[in-house]
């Protein structure tokens, strides 16, 4: 693996809920993002993928474990955080919500520069970021307002706003799920080209396995606060090990369909994480008896945190190689 630019080590983030309940949104995660690498973090709503990415950006303080930036532990002083948030940028799902309707494209892109007291040529930096984001010639867009732009152009403005600070890492949370179908491919192609031209590292947070297949080198599947399977995209998606990944893949709409495995049971609740394998109450392999031999382990024996080594691994007593720490 190449050296990592951003890394989570045994990371835990908890929230205090009503009463004395504690929600363990991220409950032991090892995840690293190499230089120039594109990793897809995949999972359903509520699995903790957004909390994990916020923690990686320094927006959420971990209750356990640590974040490493270029191999050094992230410090939570105001100065260190500001520096980190300059080099790691966030791109959100809905560009219409992310842009202030009363601010021009120029102001939207220049805002980051002003926050970080950029002392170079602001106009040149904004123009450069816009053209890297595919809005050319950039001057034509300076004075436009969000309502004059199409959905795809708005998302390009948001990406330009992230690029203008010359970050090392971009975390993109569902970057294409609110865009029109024909525009979606263009934005994904832009993200790929930024890796080529700038050597950016990208963490793409998505529930769409198609996005992962389109652009990601590696994929990490998250369920209820843990990474349950990770590995090179081709391997994970063509030979998934974890029953949860298999179920996710089986419901991707396609024509020649394998029988969809629809998960039943209560939706996962981070305030009441099941014992043993946290997926066991909904696990189709356990329900169908496929996991009969290891059923006792599934129900009662906790799995180690899945290590973030090279190769393809799953945290599963039946199919996995639980070799964590």
């Amino acid at each position: 693996m190449t050296e990592s630019v951003l890394e989570a080590r045994n990371l835990e983030v908890t929230f205090r809920g009503r009463g004395n309940q504690t929600a363990r949104a991220v409950d032991g995660v090892d995840l690293s993002l190499g230089r120039g690498e594109i990793v897809a973090l995949v999972g359903e709503s509520g699995c903790g993928k957004t909390t994990l990415s916020r923690a990686l950006l320094g927006l959420e303080r971990p209750s356990g474990g640590e974040i490493l930036v270029d191999g050094q532990p992230l410090e939570y002083s105001a100065g260190a955080l500001k520096k980190h948030r300059r080099s790691a940028q966030l791109v959100l799902q809905d560009p219409t919500g992310a842009l202030n309707p009363r601010r021009s494209v120029y102001e939207a892109v220049a805002e980051g520069l002003r926050v970080h007291r950029f002392d170079g040529d602001e106009r040149a930096a904004v123009a450069d970021a816009l053209s890297r984001a595919g809005l050319r010639p950039p001057e034509r867009f300076f004075l436009r307002y969000p309502h004059e732009l199409s959905g795809g152009q708005r998302q390009r403005v948001v990406i330009a706003g992230a690029l203008v600070l010359q970050p090392q890492v971009i975390i993109a949370d569902e970057p294409v799920s609110s865009l029109d179908a024909s525009v979606r491919g263009e934005i994904l192609a832009l993200l790929l080209s930024l890796r080529e031209s700038l050597g950016l590292s990208l963490l793409v947070v998505t529930h769409d396995l198609g996005v992962a297949w389109n652009i990601a080198d590696r994929i990490a599947v998250m369920y209820l606060g843990r990474i349950v399977e990770q590995g090179p995209t081709e391997e994970v998606l063509s030979a998934p090990k974890h029953p949860y990944t298999r179920a996710l893949l089986s419901v991707v709409p396609e024509i020649d369909h394998v029988d969809p495995i629809v998960l039943t049971g209560e939706p996962p609740d981070p305030t009441a994480i099941p014992s043993g394998c946290r997926f066991h109450p909904r696990c189709p392999a356990l329900r169908d008896g496929e996991a009969q031999a290891v059923a006792e382990d599934c129900r009662s024996k906790d799995l180690p945190v899945l290590s973030d080594a090279d190769g393809h691994e799953a945290a599963c007593w039946l199919t996995g190689t639980p070799a964590g720490h």
Partner: protein
Amino acid sequence: MAVLELDDVSVTYRSAAGPVPAVRGVSLTVDTGSSLGLAGESGSGKTTVTSTVLRLLPKSATVTGQVLLDGEDVLTMRWGRLRAVRWATASVVFQGAMHALNPVQRVGHQIAEPIRLHEKSVSEPTARARVGDLLEQVGLPSRVAQSYPHQLSGGQKQRVMIAMALACGPRLIVADEPTTALDVMVQQQVLEVLAERVRDLGLAMVFISHDLSVLASACDDLAVMYAGQVVEQGPSDQVFENAHHPYSRALGDAFPRIGDMRFRYSPSGLPGDPPFPGEAPSGCPFHPRCPQAREVCSTTEVQLRPSGERRWSSCLFAPEVGT
């Protein structure tokens, strides 16, 4: 038998900048027990088309052509008749409809509302029993009737909306992006519920989405709209696998087949953006973005014509079929 027939329907909105033709000459048919997927991007006119079915368009819209619901022309119906037809003959599940649930009423009460309005003689216990049945039909336990919307997940709320749409036993259900905001797992559950209802109750369904892969897996037939017109129509699997229009192909490729190396590190998109309604280019409206466009495309008016068995395409270079 055709439950819904649209014949040469056009819709024009009046606006300060002049008339905006949002839908231009659309003809579609949906039979009992079958489902039609309507694909297209924002502004392609798909929601406008389906809004003509129950005359849900604002006053600024002028509709021409014919909309037949069970053989009856919707556009010339009197208000009283139209009110009777809404919910009872055709009902709509709107995009993001789950947000339309009243937060301070139990969902059972809300599902029963169309029943009470349309069948005045129904007693309260009968209505309650029917609500229980409806909930079970969409795969929810009948006790959910006692819940308030905030106690339900997004997928459960969307299923409540489907139960409500089924309440008065309609012949046609229009589902406008019913799964767009949902996770894949929940999306699959909702799609299965809808497909079962079509199969078991002999309903007709129109399903709107911009995701061709969802439509292809959920519907018998597909119609692809671009700039207010249907540009391709045919059996879903054939349109998805072997499109006769470059736009349908692009829409299909936007959602990659996982495992197909053609899409690996190669996301597929189209340059440019869909035209604003009323600003459709000359000739074939798709020509400025079409990877295969030739010079004639910008000058020749196109219309839907047969391109195979039960297939139609408006592309000048689609396969020719004698009529």
